[in-house]
């Protein structure tokens, strides 16, 4: 237990140390505010009412979470279909691996042409960038069943659904979570890139607006808030993983 306490303490100290280093660098080095604002100035940016922080936070968070959730549902469902049909997998899997090589950011202008701009296309951007890691890791995890376990279920004339729900899905969870963790980081990047390319709301959009007036503290604040949204998503995934997987030592806590 004391080891856990020590670990958390060190984590908090490291973050505070970074804040301190930032503060000292800016004040002692007399760095101009438009290059790098102090932590205090960054916090003050929140007081600017014209920036509509809450709305922009809500928009960006919606894009990230919607795209991510859709990717999770589609990724796991497709992976399941592939384990049920070898033919479908052999047909689609190589195609999906090729599609995965497309830099999703390059799709941005096309997505805007197809869907105009707004929350939906930016969710699509987040979706397109994070569906692949979830699909690929889930498909891999579902396949990783010992052949003898299949024999055991088949010798009892168990159904395909029983095999999936009792053996494949729980067995694949560590893989699915590995994919979900990668995807959580990518989803944030996807939504912000979408906002950069074309939008009228969101933290990425706000950054472009304040860039013109060289309001660097607001840009810092926006980056910080985007990071916090990402950390919230990542934290939720970790908590779920802890709840569902770690306790039985399928992976190390």
């Amino acid at each position: 237990m004391s080891e856990t306490v020590q670990r958390y303490t060190l984590a908090i100290v490291a973050h505070l140390a970074l804040l301190l280093a930032w503060y000292l660098f800016v004040t002692l080095g007399k760095v101009p505010q438009f290059v790098m604002p102090s932590p205090g100035a960054t916090l003050d940016a929140l007081l600017e009412p014209d920036y509509g922080w809450w709305t922009n936070i809500a928009v960006t968070a919606t894009e990230i979470f919607a795209g991510y959730f859709l990717a999770l549902v589609v990724g796991v469902a497709l992976a399941l279909v592939f384990t049920w049909s070898k033919a479908l997998e052999s047909f689609f899997m190589p195609l999906l691996v090729s599609l995965n090589m497309i830099p999703k950011v390059a799709l941005g202008p096309l997505i805007i042409v197809w869907f105009k701009y707004g929350v939906f296309p930016n969710s699509m951007m987040a979706f397109s960038i994070c569906v692949f890691p979830i699909l690929l890791t889930t498909a891999r995890g579902l396949r990783e069943v010992e052949p003898e376990l299949l024999d055991l279920v088949r010798s009892l004339k168990g159904s395909r659904w029983q095999l999936f729900s009792k053996i494949q899905l729980p067995g694949a969870l560590p893989y699915i979570f590995a994919g979900m963790k990668v995807a959580a980081i990518l989803a944030v990047a996807g939504a912000i890139v979408g906002e950069f390319l074309g939008s009228d709301k969101g933290l990425g959009y706000l950054m472009l607006q304040v860039q013109v007036t060289l309001d660097t503290p607001a840009m810092f604040m926006a980056v910080l808030l985007i990071t916090l949204i990402g950390m919230l998503l990542y934290g939720l995934v970790l908590a779920m993983e802890r709840l569902l997987v770690v306790k039985d030592a399928r992976i190390d806590g």
């Binding site: 003898e148 010798s155 009892l156 004339k157 009792k166 039985d248 030592a249």
Partner: protein, 254 residues
């Protein structure tokens, strides 16, 4: 006159495509009486596991006759087979009791009865008190005991074991052999035990069926006339040595 529980006549199994065929089993012919523990012994690739899968209904056979069950000892292929493999194959995310319950869940056996039975079986295999542990908390031998309990939870008439102690260290293996004989006596099941340990085959079996590889064929069918309960010192008896020598000869190792 009791009828045999399993009757194999000229069973053949071929793998591969026409023109590139590989004979896995040729002409396996033997009977297993109800309640027998028959060892299938032979080198790797002699078709022992294949034969087990045919008995489990997982593979079709390509010739001959396979009949399981008799008028007095009926057999339902979907409910009456228990399986134990070389690896325990416990589900890492389930506690031991829940692992043992897996076949009962698949077959839709009422859970209350199944739970009671699972607890009794865990006591039978010497794992009372480990019901709520996760597999990683148990040693390899204990995990294999749990796998044996799992193979018995739906009260199958036939238990198929494919080198169940092959991955255990020598001492644990000897201990598990004694345990298996005790469980077999108490559970009263017909067991087919695949192994490549000749001494293990003789020690456990009421009968040893010897298979050879290249070409795959059945070489001998030996009734083991050693008294029960078997004890480890029997392994040093003259009779025991004669059985093992006979098997070594078939496998071309003498």
């Amino acid at each position: 006159m009791v009828e045999p529980f399993i009757r194999l006549r000229g069973v053949r199994k071929v793998y591969g495509s026409p023109g590139n065929e590989h004979l896995a089993i040729s002409d396996a012919t033997f009977d297993v009486m109800p309640g027998e523990l028959v060892s299938l012994v032979g080198p790797s690739g002699c078709g022992k596991s294949t034969l087990l899968k045919i008995l489990a209904g997982l593979h079709p056979h390509d010739g001959g006759e396979v009949r399981i069950g008799s008028a007095t000892h009926t057999f339902d292929p979907s409910r009456d087979v228990g399986m134990v493999f070389q690896a325990p194959l416990l589900l890492k995310w389930r506690r031991i009791l829940e692992n043992v319950l897996l076949p009962a869940e698949i077959l839709g056996i009422p859970m209350e009865d199944a739970r009671r039975r699972a607890r009794e079986l865990l006591a039978l295999v010497g794992l009372a008190g480990y019901e709520e542990k996760y597999p990683y908390e148990l040693s390899g031998g204990m995990q294999q005991r749990a796998a044996i309990a799992r193979s018995l939870v739906h009260d199958p008439k036939l238990v198929l074991m494919d080198e169940p102690f092959g991955a255990l260290d020598a001492l644990t293996r000897e201990k598990m052999n004694l345990e298996l004989l005790r469980i077999w006596k108490e559970a009263g099941k017909t067991i087919i035990f695949v192994t490549h340990g000749i001494s293990e085959a003789v020690f456990l079996g009421t009968r040893v069926v010897v298979l050879t590889a290249g070409p795959a064929k059945m070489a001998d069918n030996i009734a083991i006339d050693l008294p029960h309960p078997r004890t480890l010192d029997m392994k040093t008896h003259e009779g025991f040595g004669e059985y093992t020598r006979r098997i070594y000869r078939h496998l071309g190792m003498e």
